[in-house]
């Protein structure tokens, strides 16, 4: 339960980082198992790859990329928070610069694909 003492951005960032980490931890064993099929059972792998063409699986892959991005940036956030003894203003400016850069490059990326 997200009680009143937890309703602030840093706590929500913590929650998101933990949940994305947990979800990725659950995904990774399945991922490695599927990869191992290339060596142990190629037929089953082909079957799985056909299943992966299903649009629903594509949507799930979007979720996976989202989780990865959230967890990756959550980790960078933690490193910045704990290992960069900058002032709050400097950190805000740095985070704003990164977000702006990704917004611009992300827009070009969308045009490319």
């Amino acid at each position: 339960m997200i009680g009143p003492h937890r309703r602030h951005p840093l706590w929500l960032a913590y929650l998101l980082h933990r949940l994305s980490g947990l979800a990725l931890a659950l995904f990774l064993p399945a991922h490695f198992w599927v990869l191992s099929l290339a060596l142990t059972d190629p037929d089953q792998l082909d079957q799985f790859l056909r299943f992966a063409d299903n649009p629903l699986v594509k949507v799930a892959e979007f979720g996976l990329v989202f989780l990865l991005a959230v967890h990756f940036f959550g980790g960078l956030r933690l490193l910045a928070l704990e290992f960069l003894p900058w002032s709050q203003r400097q950190k805000s400016l740095a985070a704003g610069a990164i977000a702006g850069a990704f917004l611009i490059s992300g827009t070009f990326l969308l045009r490319a694909i």
């Binding site: 009680g3 009143p4 003492h5 937890r6 602030h8 840093l10 913590y14 704990e82 290992f83």
Partner: protein, 256 residues
């Protein structure tokens, strides 16, 4: 201006008859046992949560147990959970926290309850001692007084946390304390960071050693509730981050 007592104000309310009231739920009980009890308290234009609690104790139920001393945000004794958030009640205006006409007041989280709204602060202060929160001077009275330059980076860093009033609001806000009773907590660790930066403390390695063991600074999950709720607007989160950096440096063989 003449101080107007609670009783006098209450009488004024009784005279005017149709004054607005608030529905105040107050935790009653000792130890793990207890429940919220509802009281109707007259609403005033200006009143603090501590005023409300005092009104209940003085006018409605004299057995209500709570703690306060200075009433001006200096002593750190009156912190309670107000609508689920830890706050210093003497400087929390009811208007800012009122939920409709409802107010919920409970004892500080993460501490044993002595009775009603009075939390047992012993574990909190024991952790200050465990974190080495006692000044150990490097000089005796026979030495010359040590000169401390206010603009030294270490002093600037140490100064950031010296206004801590030991109210335990950060301690009550912290989920890491809730999950690990051994964890020293934001206030004690912030104190250790102050000492670590104090030029008058000669054994910095000892300060670091007392906060890097089990329950030390590396337990912190950086949820930031301490900084978010500190009534004096201190920043224990950054202090603990400083300790983590110092611990990492010392782990990789850097000097402390």
């Amino acid at each position: 201006m003449r101080y107007t007592g609670f009783r006098e104000r209450a009488n004024r309310c009784a005279v005017s008859g149709n004054e607005k009231t608030m529905d105040v739920s107050v935790w009653r009980g000792s130890g793990d046992e207890g429940a919220y009890e509802s009281f109707q308290v007259p609403a005033q234009d200006n009143q603090t949560v501590l005023d409300v609690v005092s009104y209940i104790q003085q006018e409605l139920d004299p057995s209500l147990t709570y703690r306060y001393a200075c009433r001006v945000g200096m002593c750190g004794s009156c912190a309670m959970m107000v609508n689920g958030q830890p706050r210093w009640t003497c400087r929390t205006h009811v208007k800012k926290v009122l939920n409709g006409d409802r107010l919920t007041v409970g004892p500080l989280r993460n501490l044993p309850v002595i009775r009603d709204l009075a939390a047992d602060m012993d574990p909190f202060f024991e952790k200050w001692i465990r974190a080495g929160g006692v000044h150990k001077p490097g000089r005796s009275r026979d030495d010359a007084i040590q000169q401390v330059r206010p603009e030294d980076p270490g002093r600037v860093e140490a100064n950031k946390a010296i206004e801590c009033i030991n109210c335990a609001v950060c301690y009550a806000a912290c989920d890491t304390v809730a999950g690990n009773p051994d964890y020293l907590g934001p206030a004690a660790l912030q104190r250790a960071w102050t000492l670590y930066n104090d030029v008058k403390v000669t054994d910095r390695a000892a300060v670091l050693a007392s906060v890097t063991g089990p329950g030390g600074c590396t337990n912190c999950h950086s949820q930031g509730s301490c900084t978010r709720f500190c009534p004096n607007e201190l920043d224990p989160l950054s202090s603990i981050a400083g300790l983590k950096r110092a611990a990492a440096r010392s782990f990789f063989g850097g000097k402390s």
